[in-house]
């Protein structure tokens, strides 16, 4: 590890000013950053801990605004939150797929998203929750929708000095689900990740959202597939079309884990399964 300066600011404004400088990195849970620094893949000159800034951690819930998750909330807390398990099951399931319990006790949801890996396990769940991302800097605050946050692998719309503070999930789904394609049962990275959320009015799907991870340079929504579901009653034929539409929306790469072709096929298979599961939850 290379030497660096370490800061522990107590206000967002202070953190933002420090973070706006060159070669600065934010430290949230540290489960990605510290490993990167040890491997010399990351060589920040200053590391700014968000630990001492009040108000960044914790989950709140109210009837009008839905659920709000502070960026410094531990992934384990997201996984175990009864509110999130109930209203955003896909997000809780995604959180439960990250690393080991020890890692999830350290890692934060803000870090998982700001790292901007297309394979992040919480991202598909946030996509189908229509999450709004609150961002703060010394110049003020702004909000972007989660599906506008990412611009490429490891890249976001955040400019120097901007810090994610909160994820707001205003629209609960009546059923949602996340499936990760992997080899090892636990502690594996997503070969692909698929989340689906649906709302039902009797048998008719009133709203549907499908989020895909690790199948494109950024996490994506499969909007064509979603539109096929909206206003319709689910049938086996429809689900097949939805799977195919989701696969068509993906543009995966081949790498050492598997081929692009396999990823595309799995988008098809797992979208069908995920939607089916979400529908089951919505009607059950």
């Amino acid at each position: 590890m290379k030497g660096f300066e370490f800061f522990e600011p107590t206000t967002l404004a202070e953190a933002s000013r420090l973070f706006a400088e060159e070669h600065a990195q934010l430290l949230a849970g540290g489960t990605d950053l510290v490993i990167g620094m040890k491997a010399l893949a990351e060589t920040p000159q200053s590391v700014i801990s968000l630990q001492n800034i009040p108000g960044l951690a914790g989950i709140t819930s109210d009837a009008d605004n839905g659920i709000s998750i502070g960026a410094m909330t531990k992934v384990r807390e997201v996984e175990l939150s009864v509110d999130i398990q109930q209203h955003h099951t896909a997000l809780a399931e995604g959180a439960s797929e990250i690393g080991s319990i020890q890692i999830r006790n350290l890692a934060t949801i803000g870090g998982n998203i700001a790292h901007a890996s297309p394979a992040a396990d919480t991202v598909a769940g946030l996509l189908v929750a229509d999450a709004q991302v609150d961002i703060a800097s010394a110049d003020g605050e702004r909000t972007v929708s989660i599906d506008e946050l990412f611009t490429g692998p490891g890249q976001t719309v955040l400019v120097p000095g901007e810090i994610i503070t909160r994820f707001r999930l205003p629209n609960p789904a009546s059923g949602s689900h996340y499936i990760k394609h992997k080899i090892r049962e636990v502690m594996d990275l997503a070969f692909i990740g698929v989340a689906a959320a649906v709302n039902l009015d009797n048998a008719t799907i009133t709203d549907a959202r499908i989020g895909l991870a690790a199948v494109a340079p950024t996490p994506i929504r499969a909007t064509e597939a979603e539109n096929l579901l909206k206003g319709n009653e689910p049938t086996a034929e429809l689900l097949e079309q939805v799977g195919e539409a989701a696969a068509a929306a993906s543009s995966p790469i081949s790498d050492l884990r598997c081929s692009a072709e396999h990823r595309k096929e799995m988008v098809d298979v797992l979208t069908r399964r995920t939607v089916q599961q979400a529908l089951g939850r919505a009607s059950g």
Binding site: G3, H181, I183, E185, L189, L256, C258, H262
Partner: protein, 767 residues
């Protein structure tokens, strides 16, 4: 009920407390005052000429104390590459600095100028004439050319008769095999019994296939580490995490020209080895060189990434296998042609190709094996080196034959298994081994005979054989005035061997296991001991311990005879006391009293000595059955049941034996389903646990272990080495179960989801 009181019982391991409390001292816990940190400078190319190595910038970095290259190696044995690198991560130099970060920075500052050369990673490409010749090797003939050339040579030697016609005919025949000249060959191994061509001709069914097994890493938890300290007199002390301290001592002596007695190797608690912890070059020699140059202790410790790029993993291989059998289930012939991916070093494991013969009566057998150079690190031993690969091919093909002739896979195996006195193809006569007992035990326990399977579920069976090694060892045992017993030896404890040694000595001296303690010495103090690998320790050190305890036993009776004034024939050692046989009233004297008495005798204290080198070993069999469920849409396989039996001869500590069976089986499962070192033009591309997957406890149900005991004539209490056999059949067990589940066979490991999907598609199943 066992006739024994301590052996054959499950007892707590002698190292249980130090392991559980974290008190055990591993290599990285050693920290002598003034210690420097070493770092190996590694090639960033997989194949390149080295044009220059410039250390000047690194030397200027504050905190750097020494930089060494091959020029510093007195014997000239290759420690660092000089003119050419053969794989990504090959050592070029080493740095010692006051801080690990400085050492790392200095390593980065050393400028290497490369002339990049073409790379070859695939063995089947490397043997072609178009491949780059990596080590200037001469080409070798394949099996047919080899045979014809041998005939030509034989005829040419006969000077009395004119064979020129025959010779030119044979020379013309050579032309029929233009592709049978292999390049980049590092070693070869050939065996033959009977006449395979005749055997195939007589067969009703002949199956031929190619099996591809990947290179896998031993993934011991503790990466290689050594701390070396050279003092001003030239004496070198090395704290080494190794399976064989005495081998490390001689390796350092040979490489660096230091007299043997000037080197003391202290083995530190081993964080796993599995055969991969014998290398001397890897960290020990650089640490000694850096310490000699700086006059300070130096630690050289590999990172996990370095373990993958420059460890000595198990070789992958490609095995072309052909088997012939009759419709009534007799195997008549088997022929194997194997290419082992040796990487940059010659031919580890290739001799194990012979294990395709399994434990079956195969009258006609032919095995040809070649080691092939590629642009990878060298390979070494991994738990039954070479056997899992060869047995994977052999046992998968047996199932294919069983299916073609419509015979149950277990019955087919039982029918062909060798029995005592049968000829071992290309290998002498079969001793008494529980082959059938072991397979029957696993079949019964797994419920094979009335097995049921839902859709996409399947059952697989396979067996694997292995014979433990043997080597020299020495043990001292002394009895103290409080009746306690102390053992002293020089062998590294490898998952329970010290416990087994302690049990054996407690048994013979009739004392409670708890009153025996065991101490391992370093190479300066302990008698020579063979390395802890090849399943040798319980066999070798168990026999040695027995001899030492029996020696002490003799001295104890001698002392009691003196003290009680009785003939030794009237005395017996029982429950830690020497009793006078049929004395009325009973008369006895305790071991403690005898030990105290011994201090003032002419003969002196009770010290037993055991020294042992060789006895012939007996093969062991592992038999396993798995039940799996395959998801035909995602290709993921779930293990529902995994049952493993093993003929262990005699289980000195049943729980430790079960631990070995479980551990080996899980490693075999991992090799079959997920583990694989992946290589590209640039070298190893998955050098870490993110993309080199080892299983967790969530991947498998509890392995059910079944101990079968058919005693080995020369083993202590009949014990055989138990560590290696359980990994040998699991690769095939898994592949056979997957085949049974989905009807499609996958011959290229690991059986990853994508391969399952592709195999189903190629068979018209389609996702």
């Amino acid at each position: 009920m066992s006739e024994y009181t301590v052996v054959g019982q499950t007892v707590a391991r002698v190292d249980a407390v130090e392991k559980v409390t974290g008190a055990a001292q591993y290599g990285a816990d050693v920290h002598p005052a003034g210690m420097l940190y070493g770092k190996i400078v590694r090639s960033k190319q997989a194949h390149a000429n080295i044009l220059s190595i410039d250390t000047s910038e690194a030397e200027k970095l504050p905190g750097v104390r020494a930089i060494i290259t091959q020029d510093d190696v007195p014997s000239g044995r290759r420690v660092f590459a000089t003119d050419k690198v053969l794989y990504l991560g090959e050592p070029l130099a080493a740095v010692a600095a006051t801080d690990p970060d400085i050492a790392e920075e200095a390593a980065e500052l050393i400028k290497i100028e490369y002339e990049v050369l073409p790379v070859v990673q695939d063995v089947m490409e490397a043997i072609k004439p178009s491949a780059p010749l990596l080590q200037g090797d001469a080409a070798k003939d394949g099996p047919n050319r080899r045979e014809i050339s041998a005939q030509i040579r034989k005829l040419s030697r006969d000077k009395e008769n004119d064979h020129s016609d025959e010779i030119s005919k044979l020379e013309a025949e050579l032309e029929n095999y233009p592709d049978e000249v292999y390049y980049n060959i590092s070693a070869e191994s050939h065996s033959e019994a009977g006449d395979v061509e005749k055997g195939f001709a007589e067969s009703d069914v002949v199956v031929e296939d190619t099996y591809v097994i990947p290179r896998v890493h031993q993934t011991y938890m503790e990466p290689h580490v050594s701390v070396a300290s050279a003092d001003s007199s030239g004496k070198v002390t090395v704290w080494a995490s190794t399976q064989g301290p005495f081998a490390i001592r001689s390796g350092i002596a040979g490489t660096l020209g230091i007299p043997l007695t000037q080197i003391n190797v202290i083995g530190t608690t081993m964080g796993g080895g599995f055969g991969g912890r014998f290398g001397v070059i890897i960290t020990h020699v650089p640490a000694v060189l850096l310490s000699q140059k700086t006059g300070r202790p130096v630690r050289v410790q590999m990172t996990r990434e370095e373990e993958f790029t420059d460890g000595r993993p198990a070789p992958g291989c490609v095995i072309k296998l052909k088997t012939g059998a009759t419709n009534d289930g007799r195997i008549l012939a088997r022929e194997a042609l194997a290419f082992w991916d040796s990487g940059s070093v010659s031919g580890a494991s290739i001799g194990s190709t012979i294990r395709v013969r399994g434990v079956y009566k195969i009258p006609n057998l032919k095995v040809d094996a070649y080691g092939v150079h590629t642009n990878k690190s060298g390979t070494a031993a991994y738990r039954a080196p070479g056997a899992p690969q060869a047995i994977f091919a052999g046992e998968c093909q047996l199932d294919e034959i069983a299916e073609r002739i419509g015979m149950d896979p277990v019955k087919f195996r039982l029918m062909n298994m060798r029995e005592e006195g049968d000829e071992v193809p290309a290998g002498g006569s079969e001793p008494k081994v529980g082959y059938k007992e072991t397979l029957e035990a696993v079949a019964d326990a797994a419920g094979w005979w009335d097995r049921e399977a839902d859709e996409n579920q399947g059952w697989g069976v396979a067996v694997g054989d292995w014979t433990n090694g043997c080597g020299p060892g020495g043990v001292y045992v002394s009895v103290h005035e409080d009746g306690s017993v102390r053992i002293f030896h020089g062998s590294m404890d490898i998952t329970g061997t010290d416990t087994a040694i302690s049990q054996i000595i407690a048994e013979i001296l009739t004392v409670p296991y708890e009153s025996v303690t065991i101490r391992r010495g370093d190479t300066d103090s302990a008698p020579y001991s063979t390395g802890s690998g090849g399943s040798v320790v319980t066999f070798t050190m168990g026999n040695t311990a027995k001899l030492a305890a029996e020696d002490a036993h003799r001295r104890i009776l001698e002392l009691a005879s003196e003290r009680l004034n009785m003939n030794v024939d009237n005395l017996e050692l029982r429950d830690g006391e020497v009793h006078v046989i049929s004395a009325d009233p009973p008369k006895s004297i305790s071991l403690g009293e005898l030990a105290a008495y011994s201090l003032s005798t002419t003969g002196g204290p009770i010290v037993g000595k055991g020294s042992f080198a060789r006895q012939s070993s007996t093969p062991a069999l592992a038999a396993q059955i798995a039940k799996v469920e395959v998801d035909p849409d995602t290709g993921r396989t779930r293990v529902l049941k995994l049952v493993a039996s093993q003929d262990v001869g005699f289980a000195i500590n049943p729980m430790a034996v079960e631990g070995q069976i479980e551990g080996g089986t899980v490693q075999g499962y991992a090799w079959a389903m997920m583990e694989e070192m992946q290589y590209g033009e640039e070298g190893n591309i998955n050098p870490g646990f993110v993309d080199y997957r080892v299983p967790t406890s969530a991947d498998l149900p509890t392995v059910e272990s079944i101990i079968v005991e058919v005693p080995a004539p020369n083993g202590p209490y009949g014990a055989k080495g138990v560590g290696e056999p359980p990994i040998t059949p699991t690769l095939a067990t898994m592949a056979n179960a997957v085949k049974d589940a989905i009807g499609v066979r996958i011959n290229e490991l690991p059986i990853k989801p994508e391969k399952v999907i592709d195999a189903l598609k190629n068979n018209g199943h389609g996702a």
